[in-house]
């Protein structure tokens, strides 16, 4: 406790420098927290849309109702399939046309009859989907099979790129935060050289001299992290209504904020970063 009170005394004595550095660390960590938030929601998108969860089986022209029913039953019996729904040409037209009157007036024969398959959760990896498609193609009355692998592959690639960019950005931001704290503590060290000299003179142990500077760094980092997540939470919840409308329509999901364990980890991580930056400065600049 005494270490913290000595660190706080140091913070109070150079309050302007400390405010500037907390703000700088907060800015860096705000960027990092934003990236973490984006990564978390991209992960959610990836889980929802990243895997081929459905498959469309196009039926041959002239397939009879019995053949279609037989095929649907065969498809339903496959272990990878959770449901198989027949979509008639008329239904296909209605789905595609929507409110478009011209399209709605087109002949139903222009639209192929399909069986829409929903896949079970464990069967959505690319190799199993491809194997399933090959088996379905061999069945009678099947004209073609669409696995949507191209679209999901592109989405996965986009999400993977996003995650990599977030990671690289995060590492850069972390290094910046460490450098900011390190330089702040260095300034603090120079400003308090007389204090250090006096402590050494009266017989303070090296640990006694160093500890408040390490605590000061941890306070800076932790304080910066708290400010960063508070600002991010404010911005997120202020914009949530708009985000819900946009993302809900586009992706069919609601954006989520960082969970409490992640927030706690963020603050602790900020404190750890601060202590690390401080330790670097102390090691480099404080000879005791």
């Amino acid at each position: 406790m005494k270490v913290v009170s000595r660190a706080l005394r140091g913070v109070r004595e150079h309050v302007r420098t400390q405010i500037v550095s907390v703000a700088t660390v907060a800015l860096a960590l705000f960027c990092l927290a934003t990236a973490a938030l984006a990564a978390q929601n991209l992960g959610e998108v990836s889980r929802r849309w990243g895997g081929p969860v459905r498959m469309t089986v196009y039926l041959s022209d002239g397939a009879t109702a019995e053949q279609v029913e037989s095929l649907r039953n065969a498809l339903s019996a496959l272990p990878e399939v959770s449901s198989a729904r027949y979509v008639s040409p008329t239904e296909s037209r209605a789905l595609v046309a929507g409110d478009d009157r011209v399209m709605a007036s087109a002949s139903a024969e222009l639209f192929p009859a399909t069986v829409e398959l929903s896949l079970v959760a464990g069967a959505t990896d690319a190799s199993r989907v491809e194997a399933l498609a090959a088996r379905v193609r061999r069945l009678g009355s099947v004209s073609d099979v669409e696995t949507y692998q191209g679209i999901t592959g592109q989405l996965q690639s986009f999400l993977s790129g996003g995650r990599t960019a977030t990671l690289v950005f995060g590492v850069i931001v972390l290094l910046c935060a460490v450098a900011v704290v390190s330089n702040t503590v260095r300034l603090s060290l120079h400003a308090r050289m007389r204090e250090v000299e006096v402590l050494r003179l009266v017989g303070a142990s090296p640990q006694y001299v160093r500890s408040p500077f390490l605590a000061e760094g941890a306070l800076l980092g932790g304080g910066g992290a708290i400010v960063a997540v508070s600002v991010l939470a404010f911005v997120f919840f202020a914009m949530r209504g708009r985000l819900d409308a946009t993302l809900g329509t586009a992706l069919g999901m609601r954006p989520v904020f960082l969970s409490l364990p992640i927030l706690a980890g963020f603050v602790l991580g900020g404190a750890g970063l601060g202590a690390t930056g401080s330790a670097l400065a102390v090691r480099r600049w404080l000879k005791v």
């Binding site: 204090e195 006096v198 402590l199």
Partner: protein, 278 residues
Amino acid sequence: MGRPRIGAQFGRQFRPDGHFDRSAAHKPILVLDGVVKVFRADAPVLRRVDLTIERGEFVFVTGPSGAGKSTLLKLVYRSETVDEGRILFCGRDIARLTDDSVPFLRRNIGVVFQDFKLVPYWTVFENVAVALEVAGMPSRIIRSRVAMALERVGLAGRGEDLASVLSGGEQQRVAVARAIVNEPAIVLADEPTGNLDPVLALDILGLFEEVHESGTTVLFATHDRSLLEQAPQHRLIVIDDGRTIEARQGLRAVGGALDAQRHNRDADDAVSTARLPL
């Protein structure tokens, strides 16, 4: 008497083996034995200095600027280390102390400097209390000890003042209070009156006299002749050209002391040490 000396308690702590040596109480408090300190190879600051200081002595160390007075004191509180020879403090060779033990040594030594070395943004109380805080003393004891120390130096009731608002003389009194608050075995003063006018200088000398009268050993480095003349009863060591000479007992005594010190030195060295500034 009554109160045990804090210095005696810490004395056992700075010993690497952790055991209290009872015989140390009967030994000289400080012995310099053939001490050599060299910063530049062609001009050693101290050349085989031999010096013994008994417990309770008040010793002036004087000599021209650059003669090695401050270096001698720095060697005693281990801000510098000897190149040759030994320095025995309470019977222990401080040159052999590990770095971890140096803080414990310093808790037994009070040091006062010409530039006060106070933290300007700390209060008077904090500047004095720091000498006890580093030893982990309970705050209740710290409060009472600091109050007593401030009273001894004539600053009772000034504990809440910032050090930066004090006059030079008052700042030096705070520095003295810090040096004596943990009742160290010895107080080292490195030109403590150098930044003060003559009246204040005498005032501060009087303070050290009082500290000495309470039984503390004082090693007082100064080049101010007027101060030396004010306290002729005290032992006087002259440092010149890297060597120490007992000066107060007169030149013949000085010669005898030098003979005793020089039995291992060459004749050229002996001639050069006969030049006395006083």
